[in-house]
Amino acid sequence: MHHRAQDRRVFILALDGVPFSLLQTAFEHGHCPTLCQTFQQQGTFREIHSVIPPLSTVAWSSFLTGKNPGKHGIFGFVDRTLNPLQTFIPTGRHLKAPTLFERLSDAGKRAITMNVPGTTPPRPIQGVWIADFLTVSLEKAVYPKDLVPDLKSLDYRIDVNPLLAKENPGQFLQDLREAVDRRVETALWLMEKYLPDWDLFMLHIMETDRFLHFFWDLQTEPTDAQRFWSFFDFLDQTIARVLQRLPENAILVSLSDHGFGPVKKEVYVNTWLREQGWLRFVQDPPKGLEDLDSRSKAYSLIPGRFYVNLLGREALGSVLPEDYEPWRTRLSEALLHLKDPDTGAPIVRRVYRREELYHGPFVQGAPDLVALPESGYDFKGTLRDVPLFQTPSMSGMHTVEDAYLFFQGVEIPQDVNITLYDVTATVFDLLGVPVPQDLDGRSLLEVAHGI
């Protein structure tokens, strides 16, 4: 850690959805020896929080831009346009703020990014941009394009086949392992052969999130726990190939974008809105939000994002502007009273108003309320008329708490709160590039020891 900023490099290892507590348990039981040794060397290793609600594309977009969603415009895996009122899948084209990679590129640094959610389609930088699982083909995933044949020959995989998880779990596990193995092999080739003078390398592993969604419950069954931990041991061994070969002047930053926990029940909150008489459609099943009946008061998109059907904003709005606040209050109170019929326990832990979570020029795209569930209740967004409570189809779900951060060589005092935005700002600082003033975070080097 004695290198001057201009001689430093930063390697970011992003393990999607890996909980801090899971790593601690793994380390206590002798699993993941490389990560254990790495994360327990000098530096900071601790729990951090995700964005609210904890969604991967939103969390990583926030990390990459160093800004809250009100300043970058991505609020979910699905968002809505107001006129016509309909849903769409946001991509990097909707990301309205420059990423870390572009800003570093503008500052003359070379960056390589692989697989980070929210990075479709690729953008031109000085370096390499390989987009995420929302790309439809390898040809469309890569900048510069002349890398496509190399990635093909390395058998690079954009994503696994999620359908296998139900149809053939054994094969799905194998698929996950292969995808991780190929990504790591490609990363090694990029960092040592293709662009050895990179300044920033961000390697993202999506397969941990996939694994935890489908196999979270394995860890609780004594007979299955071995299969659970063997995946993480495999991951550890595979990642070790990269970690052992990092250049001596590279600082390792590793983080996850959210935590994970068990799912008890899926909650179809639009059904609840229908039951209250606040949501109806002109036909059932509706084709989409465009079939909203103009008398509707509210609707929801996954997970727990609620929108008032506001006159003058939504194409089919019905709530008068002067009734907007009363409706938010009414919805919020009703949500807090929502109970699990089997136990009588509340389902909603807290309801956030838009302005508590978002600020910036793009808040128009933000939900009016966000309901954060009590542990184990997974809020779904289907518009179809389905039962309110359903048995979960997957065993793990995202949590706001329990993401992790490791910062090699940077000792951050325990009482300093760390946001994703601070990590972004710190990466600029470590690389000797002035921290952009419009970020929502500040460099942790200001408060850290060690560097």
Partner: protein, 205 residues
């Protein structure tokens, strides 16, 4: 890398705290995403680097704007989009800038002074009202409303995103930037269906 295209100048004017810098930065980002080379000449930064020593008298301000217009000219003739974000309160100076730059778009960022005072991003109105700053536009120095700007953004009435869309639309209409149908859509209809299916299979929809 950035495509080789003709440059042009986008000249923002408006009272302090009217929203010039916000819109200039948003426009910068939108144009970069479309593959343009862009440089923002922000009033404050320009004064720091090449107009140091110039004050805020009418004469000095006109000189400052003349320098900005010249740099914008140098940039835009080399294929860069030059975005300027200085108060530029005088019609005379804006006319000169237009003469100097063939491909030129003037954006008037219109906002009532009361609203700007309320925003007071840099706390300068407060000082000006107390008399601690002299020749402060909107308080103790006039702002001459642009006579014929290509775009007027009323930032007390529109969202920043709406203002940005207005500017982009004008640039498209003038042929300064390419019209890109479905600009925001990274997917064709078929591709979006594939992605939706994938997200559904993952329980994300």
């Amino acid at each position: 890398m950035a495509k080789e295209r003709q440059g042009f100048t986008v000249w923002f004017s408006g009272l302090p705290s009217s929203g010039k810098t916000t819109l200039a930065r948003m426009l910068e980002q939108a144009l970069k995403q479309r593959g343009y080379k862009v440089e923002v000449l922000d009033g404050d930064i320009v004064r720091q680097y090449f107009s140091k020593g110039l004050g805020f008298s009418r004469e000095d301000r006109i000189e400052n704007l003349r320098r900005i217009a010249y740099v914008a000219h140098l940039l835009s003739r080399n294929g860069v989009v030059a975005i300027t974000a200085a108060v530029s309160p005088y019609q005379e100076a804006r006319d000169r800038a237009r003469e100097m730059n063939e491909r030129f778009v003037e954006v008037y960022v219109k906002c009532p002074v009361e609203v700007c005072i309320e925003r007071d991003v840099k706390g300068l109105y407060k000082k000006a009202l107390k008399g601690e700053i002299q020749n402060f536009t909107g308080i103790s120095d006039p702002f001459e409303e642009p006579v014929n700007p290509e775009v007027i953004c009323e930032t007390d009435k529109e969202t920043p995103e709406e203002s940005l869309q207005k500017i982009l639309k004008t640039l498209e209409n003038l042929g300064f930037i390419e019209r890109e149908e479905g600009e925001e859509n990274a997917y064709s209809e078929e591709e979006e269906a594939v992605v939706r299916k994938r997200l559904e299979d993952l329980g994300y929809l």
